[in-house]
Subunit: 135 residues, 2 copies
DNA sequence: GTAACCCTTAAAGTTCACTTTAAGTCAAAT
DNA sequence: ATTTGACTTAAAGTGAACTTTAAGGGTTAC
């Protein structure tokens, strides 16, 4: 069992942020010692790691809370939780597409810088000519 | 030449947001008509599209402003601008890796839901047992 | 025993990127 | 002529996710 400081170090996440998640109802299973201090085990850390993964890919705090609330209601909500995960997976795919398109766009601009290729389509041109009147 | 409303429709971006970008110094080349109304041409729209692409992949407003400020100083800043684009490309790659890892994690959880495979490693287990004392 | 350091809570503050509001100008339509 | 609708600006408001502050309690080290 770990203190919040140890959990913070293992997760590389500020203790304040872990408390914030707890206050937001995202850590329903955390135990306390006799002094009321939070105690974390490996499963708690695994759940926080998964949450961090959700957060890093755009799931909101309230979205995570929704999963937690369903989970607290028991196995009867598994179908709904699966649907949420599938929807989130689809969101991840969308974000991958956005990144791929952006990567291509930036690559193309870099090619213009490196080869001065196709300059009339570049934003280079857009700025370089700004001293002349644009008509 | 387009009004802000036409630009807004072509870009699928609120006119207010375009004005906000202008106020933030992100649109240094926009012209005005005799009444002071903004006028956009295709190159302006292309620049805003590229900006939108930067924004969608995590570049901040001030990061974009930095590029604009360098561009306004002329061709002497091209090396620095190229460096910024290369750094942003590296950021995009990092984000792709985060998404890929998240996709794998979510897929694994979905497999647990679908096959009840490897349950002791799942967050399913973490929640389903929450009624029993965790020791 | 008292200082250092960990923990606690509640609440206020911060940052970012918009978004909305307020107050007003201008041109066309009725 | 006045209403409608698009535009203008400056400034205030919003929402999300922290982050910091304030005030205090418990355990360990000297």
């Amino acid at each position: 069992m770990f203190t919040i400081k140890e959990a913070s170090e293992k997760l590389n996440c500020p203790a304040h942020t872990i408390r914030f998640y707890d206050k937001e109802g995202l850590l329903p299973n955390i135990r306390r010692d006799d002094n009321g201090n939070r105690l974390f085990d490996e499963k708690d850390l695994d759940w926080i790691r998964l949450m961090t993964c959700f957060r890093a890919t755009g799931m909101s705090i309230s979205g995570i809370r929704e999963i937690v609330e369903l989970a607290k209601q028991g196995e009867g909500t598994i179908a709904r939780r699966r649907a949420i995960l599938e929807a989130h997976q689809a969101e991840i795919i969308k974000k991958q597409q956005v990144l791929n398109e952006a990567f291509e766009a930036v690559s193309q601009k870099l090619e213009v810088y490196n080869n001065n290729r196709n300059p009339e389509k570049s934003f280079l041109d857009y700025f370089e000519k700004s001293e002349e009147p644009k008509v």
